[in-house]
Amino acid sequence: MLEVANLSHAYGDAPPVLSSIDLEVRPGELVSIVGPSGCGKSTLLRCIAGLQAPTAGQVRLDGKPVDRVPDNLAVVFQDYSRSLFPWMSVRDNVALPLRRRRKNRAQRQENAMKALESVGLPDAAAKYPWQLSGGMQQRVAIARALAYGPEFMIMDEPFGSVDAQTREDLEDLLLRVRGNSGMTILLVTHDIDESVYVGDRVVVLSKGPARVRADLWVGLPTARDQITTRELPEFVHLRAEVGRLVRGREAADEPKS
């Protein structure tokens, strides 16, 4: 259980980025977070992950306050290319977090290969990250987080650079992994369709400072399908609603600034 209570954050003397955010995520839930760009989504995730101490409020994971990165939590960073280590092969990058899981080298390499296969990159194992395209690097970063086998996964626009087909495959992979392992996932996306398609809930943030503008329950069947789910009337209705919430606020902001 993840609880975010009254979380606020400001960078230095700048105006606050986050303002009194309250959020609860139950075990096994997949919550999508959407909001206008620059509204503070990455900041929120960093506070939740324990990488950034908030100026006020608290984050609790399974009842314990988060003051450093919990060891059952993985992060897929928005800036994926810089979070991969250029001096390690792709396989070593993916295998690196498994050191903490007390596995021997052979097991680590095997798990890394499995994770790379799951994101469709078994052939890239011996390459270096900088030899791959942006989309492939992003999938390596996802494979690394999956190989780690965390209970909580925080993903910051994880599919931003991949092509449409791969994106759908990765969305389905995520739903499968969540179904199999019961992982709790917090996913930031700028794609409104995606937020509805993968989410059990969609949290919409407003801008300047970020507040929870809406917290919508996605009442779609658990088993989702790229074609049929997206044509359900509930889906169409929900994506319109989320779209209005995100854009409406942006439009209302404009005359002010």
Binding site: A49, L51, R68, V69, D71, L73, A74, V75, F77, D79, S81, R82, S83, F85, P86, W87, L96, P97, R99, R100, Y128, P129, W130, Q131, L132, S133, G134, M136, Q137, R144, Y148, S161
Partner: protein, 292 residues
């Protein structure tokens, strides 16, 4: 505090689209062919020198052929079982090389350790910065008299001179490299539980390696200079001592042979170092090659 140059600015390999490939092949090959192409100029200069020296018969400028002959006789006309090295070669080279590498290795180890400390701790940086700036500013040969007083003439004095003189590039570059590791890389390590020694050896040092190697390379060049200087002063063995004794005997070809030897050694050390560096930093140069 800034790093000694000789380094390429740390570039991050972002593998997004729009990268340009350099139209070059294996870098080693390029250096070789480029070297061969430039060699004709050297040959021309040596040829001119030979002709002029023979016609002028100036004792100060013996013709290259004489220098080469003396060079060979002095050091490389020994028995095959000794790799053609003469006894004099063993006498001259051994102390010089031992001093050079002991001094350089000492500077590398201490410089690396202090550099890591300084890179990690901003408190240590603030406290030690004035001392370091001053230490770096002292021209190393000025310490020779001091080391002579402390150690008397000999290997200890020479090694200390070299070590003290060449530690700065390693130390400052390591500190700079360690301090400027990408924040996101450290955060990634934190998320995935890579801490302590694992973080130092798998993240921090590899990330700082391009700067560390640049420092080591500059140091190696300095070390050769300081090796000769420390031997020119009151030493009876080593290549520097050979230079002095041939100067005192007015043996100009021998002296020139020593100068040529030092030039060759400098090139050789640089080449070997470049090979080692390429082995450890291939990711860096290749990432840059694809990206920039």
């Amino acid at each position: 505090m800034t790093a000694i140059t000789g380094d390429h600015p740390a570039e991050r390999p972002t593998g997004t689209n729009g990268r340009r490939r350099r139209p070059t092949g294996v870098p080693g090959l390029r250096i070789l062919t480029g070297g061969a192409a430039r060699l004709w100029l050297v040959a021309l200069l040596v040829g001119c020198w030979e002709i002029i020296a023979r016609t002028k018969q100036d004792a100060y400028f013996p013709p290259p052929s004489t220098i080469v002959r003396v060079f060979h006789e002095l050091w490389f006309s020994g028995p095959a079982t000794h790799l053609f090295l003469t006894d004099k070669a063993l006498d001259d080279f051994q102390p010089s090389f031992v001093n050079l590498f002991c001094g350089w290795a000492l500077a590398a180890v201490v410089g690396l350790a202090l550099g890591i400390l300084l890179g990690r701790s901003s408190v240590a940086r603030e406290i030690l910065d004035p001392v370091l700036q001053f230490g770096r500013a002292v021209p190393p040969p000025t310490l020779i008299p001091f080391f002579i007083v402390v150690f008397d003439f000999g290997a200890q004095m020479q090694i200390s001179t070299i070590a003290f003189g060449v530690i700065w590039p390693v130390l400052l570059n390591t500190a700079d490299g360690v301090r400027t590791v990408e924040k996101l890389q450290l955060e990634t390590a934190e998320v995935f539980g890579i801490t302590g020694a694992a973080r130092l050896f798998r993240i921090t040092l590899p990330a700082a390696a391009p700067k560390i190697f640049a420092g080591l390379r500059v140091s190696l060049g300095f070390a050769l200079i300081l090796m000769v200087i420390s031997e020119l002063i009151g030493s009876t063995t080593g290549i520097g001592a050979h230079l002095i004794s041939s100067q005192q005997g007015m043996e100009l070809p021998e002296m020139w042979a020593g100068i040529v030897l030092l030039g060759i050694l400098g090139c050789l050390f640089n080449a070997v170092f470049a090979l080692v560096e390429r082995r450890f930093l291939s990711w860096h140069s290749r990432a840059r090659g694809l990206d920039s």
